[in-house]
């Protein structure tokens, strides 16, 4: 009797059903170009089944403030990466032009605006938290912030929450 050896099929590794991998982003900036890195990375993490938290603090509150979240700006001032002559960057209207260009490019790539992006993340199971001190500092009420928030946390509760998480400050 002969035995025929067959190679096992090549199947992608989809990971274990349970993983304790956890990631947290602290968003402390309210400009358009500083909002997207966390949003995109959070989306990638969620897509890979990783528990994901975003904590909004200081100017990052603009990303969840109903009044500002749909209208973040990008400023070329003090940003050498724009390759714009430093003297031109502060000219009147330059921020509006730079913002418009960045938004147009994002739209062309079908990347959602900040409010829709947060909704997308929330649908994927992302946890969104507002910083208690920032809420007090900017005199915000619950109604002023997106309904997608999981809650308002002080920093010690946030520390408990991210126990074991990879954490990034943006």
């Amino acid at each position: 009797m002969t035995t025929e050896e067959t190679a096992a099929p090549i199947v992608p590794d989809m990971g274990a059903d349970y993983s304790d991998r956890k990631i947290a982003f602290v968003c402390s900036k309210g400009s358009l170009d500083m909002a997207y890195p966390a949003l995109v990375m959070a989306s990638g993490a969620l897509e890979q089944g990783i528990e994901t938290h975003i904590f909004f603090t200081f100017w990052g509150m603009d990303m969840i403030n109903k009044k500002t979240m749909g209208n973040l700006h990008f400023s070329p001032v003090g940003n050498p990466a724009t390759h714009m002559p430093a003297a031109l960057a502060p000219l009147p209207g330059m921020q509006a032009i730079a913002t418009k260009q960045m938004k147009a490019k994002l739209e062309e790539l079908k990347i959602p605006d900040v409010p829709s992006f947060l909704e997308h993340l929330s649908d994927m199971g992302c946890h969104l938290w507002a910083c208690k001190m920032s809420v007090d500092m900017f005199d915000l009420e619950e109604d002023d912030m997106t309904d997608l928030l999981d809650g308002v946390l002080n920093v010690s509760d946030f520390m408990d929450l991210i126990d074991g998480a990879q954490t990034m400050l943006i």
């Binding site: 190679a7 099929p9 090549i10 992608p12 989809m14 990971g15 079908k110 997308h120 199971g125």
Partner: protein, 105 residues
């Protein structure tokens, strides 16, 4: 490209195991692929996603991202996570015989 045998059929796959030839896929293979990654029964809802991905690929030449499946395909993101738990983008592409999405969102 490696060749692997799934449901008695020889198919071309990349190093991870995603099918590389659009025409080597058929519905029977889809069920076998699904079983390989722990989805034992493909429901009508699964098929709706698979059919969208296959036809969108033919039009666009690339695998739709989760967001595209929800905004263009009309299947809510939450549903995708229920149908293809944990790693929906990879799982739905694999079962549909496509490469995993290249886009970030």
């Amino acid at each position: 490209m490696p060749v692997t045998t799934i449901a008695d059929k020889q198919v071309h796959v990349d190093e991870e195991g995603f099918l590389t030839e659009f025409d080597e896929w058929d519905k029977d293979l889809a069920q076998a692929l699904a079983t390989n990654i722990g989805i034992d029964d493909l429901t009508d809802e699964h098929w709706k996603v698979i059919e969208f991905l296959r036809s969108d690929y033919q039009e666009q030449g690339e695998t739709a991202t989760l967001r595209r499946v929800s905004t263009v395909g009309g299947i809510p993101t939450k549903t995708l996570f229920q149908l293809f738990p944990k790693k929906p983008a990879r799982k739905m592409s694999y079962i549909s015989g496509l490469q995993k999405p290249a886009g970030c969102i």
